[in-house]
């Protein structure tokens, strides 16, 4: 069925709502994290048990996108009561069907626990992880079935597109986006409305819009979750953008490593064509538009827009000089607007709820919300969406739940390998583009890695540099050779071979790589080094002057020894040692043979008396 008018869309929406609103609904999380923890099996069990209980007709069962709290998966939520079950295993499904669905009894052991009061909380909104979030882009993630366009329509999907095509001119659309203050969510934060205006003004009869889904930061999964959980919001945003700039063709660039996202996108595009949202004369207007998926071969540098264009054209993804910017010379030389997944997904919301409402969220220069993937040493890892301007402390300690004791949080890496490490003392910093850049980090695409006191900052910088020297395309000298040399210097520091002059050289080199590299990758590559030097210089100095790793991480600088007073002689560490380096008798203190020890740390982990110490 093709939707031709706004009235038709509204009628369809009404029909869909009427068919589903009165029914209870079971929403099983189908995000990649929960799937890995067995949510597909949970879903299968629900299907059979609902049949058995004769509830298959009376209860809706949906396999949704990511709910967010990946740490506690698989997650199941029940509408309309909003009961939120976590850590649901296939064997728990019978209880949920028989108790909760059939008799309305809540199963206490599957509920989340409030970390402060210890009380079990029933509803999603009562959990601290969700309470402080503002879910705008993710509002339907975990609610709708991403493989069914009718789900999206039932919640008002494509209404914004209908309004744009039937009531607004392209210039009015651009003005709305400009007034909303939306900025690119891919990292640099370029004003989206301005980008669109430049592309609209650029001469050329053929124009393109591209969705940049080449999310490459280690530990980041925001874009993947949006594409997996609500692909139509991105597609709708792109169609609106295409209308605004006058593009007839769109490209979604997704990395091949996201098979689930590619699959949901393929389904979503086919369904959008069936309903007439893609193709000729959309919503009965003169505007025609279609798009295709280009799968990337997984190079970090392909996230850089000129490199992405090269990849789309079938060339090696290497960046080129800007200017000319893609809005003037993009894919095959035509003006091209490239926006990040999250940016596109924001567009329908802005049209629907108005630019003033959107601009009321956030800070003076950073509007709206931002999705972060919160990972590392925090209690609640997962996908969070917060209004701009929230402090890092609120995000890490209230939503993330802080570090599980006895560990303490020491720093956070924000913005992926191009971002920076910010120390605990800066946790009152508001999360907006300018504050983060000023502190030496960057918003980036939204990766947030929390580190505790057992993390060596030199080792962290070295890890990121290893990633970058591998992911640099190798075209320009400072990035290719500079990251490689920085890695060498950091390795020397970690192994206790470095001198003070090496530290000076590292700093000097980092400056030059930042200033002279061709593209954003190289220009931001030294950030992990520069920020750790700025905020954790004492750790570098300890490695160099005292040949000591304060966090006890760098293998060349630590030793594992057994504290004879604490050792109970339980023999527990003897057999796990892969080197048979530990000797000892029952009830006698054990000793580690340093010659044989490879510092794997297994004895440290297995000892229950904290007798194995790192010195």
């Amino acid at each position: 069925m093709k939707i031709r008018t706004l009235e038709q869309l509204k009628a369809l929406q009404g029909e869909l709502r009427a068919a589903r609103d009165h029914k209870p609904c079971v929403r099983v999380c189908g995000g990649t994290g929960c799937r890995a923890r067995g949510s597909e099996e949970v879903l299968a069990r629900f299907t059979t048990l609902l049949q058995e209980a004769g509830l298959a007709e009376a209860v809706d069962l949906r396999f949704t996108g990511c709910h967010g709290l990946c740490e506690r998966g698989p997650l199941v939520s029940l509408a309309p009561e909003g009961i939120f079950y976590q850590g649901v295993e296939a064997d728990d499904v019978r209880a949920i069907v028989m108790e909760t669905l059939a008799r309305g009894v809540v199963i206490e052991r599957l509920l989340a626990q409030d970390p402060v009061t210890g009380k079990r909380v029933r509803r999603e909104q009562e959990i601290p992880f969700y309470r402080r979030q503002h879910r705008l882009v993710l509002r339907f993630n975990g609610v709708i079935d991403p493989t069914d366009i009718r789900e999206y329509i039932a919640f008002g999907g494509y209404h914004a597109l209908g309004m744009v095509l039937t009531r607004l001119t392209p210039d009015e659309v651009i003005e709305i986006i400009e007034r909303s203050g939306l900025r690119g969510r891919g990292g640099a934060g370029f004003p989206t409305g301005k980008k669109w205006r430049l592309a609209r003004a650029a001469p050329g009869s053929r124009k393109y819009v591209i969705c940049n889904g080449d999310e490459g930061d280690p530990g980041a999964f925001m874009d993947r979750s949006v594409l997996e959980g609500n692909p139509h919001s991105v597609i709708e945003g792109m169609i609106i953008g295409a209308y605004a700039v006058g593009a007839a063709q769109g490209i979604i660039y997704v990395r091949e490593e996201y098979p689930l996202a590619v699959r949901t996108l393929e389904i979503a595009l086919a369904q959008a064509r069936d309903y007439g949202f893609l193709g000729e004369e959309i919503f009965g207007s003169a505007f025609s538009f279609d798009m295709e998926i280009v799968r990337g071969a997984g190079a970090f540098v392909a996230g850089e827009e000129t490199a992405l264009i090269a990849a789309v054209e079938g060339k090696v993804s290497e960046p080129r000089q800007r200017p000319p910017y893609p809005v003037h010379r993009g894919v095959w030389g035509h003006p091209t607007v490239i926006n990040n997944v999250e940016t596109w997904a924001n567009v329908p919301v802005i049209i629907e709820r108005g630019p003033e409402w959107f601009a009321s969220l956030g800070t003076a220069t950073s509007k709206g919300t931002k999705i972060f993937s919160l990972v590392g040493k925090v209690a609640n890892t997962g996908l969070v969406e917060i209004p701009m301007g929230m402090t890092l402390r609120e995000l890490i300690e209230e939503i993330g739940g802080g570090a599980p004791p006895p560990r303490e949080i020491k720093a956070v890496q924000i913005g992926g390998p191009s971002g920076g490490c910010l120390p605990k003392t800066l946790f009152d910093l508001p999360i907006d583009y300018e504050s983060l850049t000023e502190a030496g980090a960057m918003m980036g695409s939204g990766g947030l890695i929390v580190m505790d006191d057992r993390t060596c900052m030199v080792d962290v910088a070295r890890y990121f540099m290893d990633f970058l020297r591998d992911e640099s395309c190798g075209k320009c000298l400072p990035c290719r050779e500079g990251t490689n040399r920085m890695y060498e210097l950091l390795t020397a520091i970690c192994e206790g071979r470095a001198t003070e002059s090496d530290l000076e050289l590292l700093e000097e080199l980092a400056q030059v790589v930042r200033e002279t590299s061709l593209c954003g990758l190289g220009q931001t590559a030294p950030n992990p080094v520069l920020t750790t030097l700025r905020y954790f210089r004492s750790e570098y100095e300890a490695h160099i002057r005292e040949r000591r790793c304060p966090a006890g991480v760098c293998k060349a600088l630590i030793r594992y020894v057994i504290n004879a007073e604490r050792c109970t002689g339980c023999l527990a560490c003897l057999s796990p040692c892969p080197q048979q380096a530990i000797r000892g008798q029952l009830k006698q203190p054990h000793v580690i043979d340093q010659e044989r020890c490879i510092k794997c740390g297994i004895c440290h982990e297995v000892c229950q008396f904290e007798a194995v110490e790192i010195v």
Binding site: C476, R485, V512, E515
Partner: protein, 239 residues
Amino acid sequence: MTRLYINGIEVDLEEGTTLLEAVEHLGIEIPTLCFHPGLSAYGACRLCVVELGDGRLVSACTYPVQEGLQVRTHSPRVLRARRMLIELLLSICPGSKRLQDLAAEHQVERVRFSVRDERCILCGLCVRMCAEQMMAHAIGFVNRGYRRRITTPFDLTSDVCRRCGGCLYICPVCELRCQGPEAPSVVCGSCMTPAPTCPPVYEDLACYMGAAGECGTCVRGPRTPDRRSPDFTRRRESV
């Protein structure tokens, strides 16, 4: 016409001109390595970086002239960056006379990185020469990052290579080997002293003067000792 300012000098140039052409138009010299007038600009070696009014350093060979642009070709930041880049280049290719000369011009007196003699700086001139002038596309880059190198497809002897030697001709480092003292571990440095210049001398090539290293212009044949050593001083005296 586009008006811009290079080192404070006002200059009007046609749109589409690059900053490198603009700079050369004024007779200002800036070093280049991966640039060749007969090939497309690539912007990889970054030696031609210049400082713009907003503080950015950009490669002159690829950056187009823009109205009102303020360009500084030899600001302290530019010079510092060029020195570091030359040091990086020398650390992977100490045997190149081109690089040793650049080092001398820019007062690069030491290489603080561990030296690997790779004999290639991946400037891509040979790849572009092969593709753009010889229309052969016989060689290209493989891998990325620090594993990047230049080779034929699948490392097999190329069917399309006509053995024209264009790649060798244009290479800034594999031609003209520097005959410095103990290469490849140090900066040659001989061009920095006021003593006679150091034209290339090859043991296996004919010296135009008939006797390499003996006329006094070229003081260092391949086997001659370091000019700064006492040995060298004696030799000079005897000449």
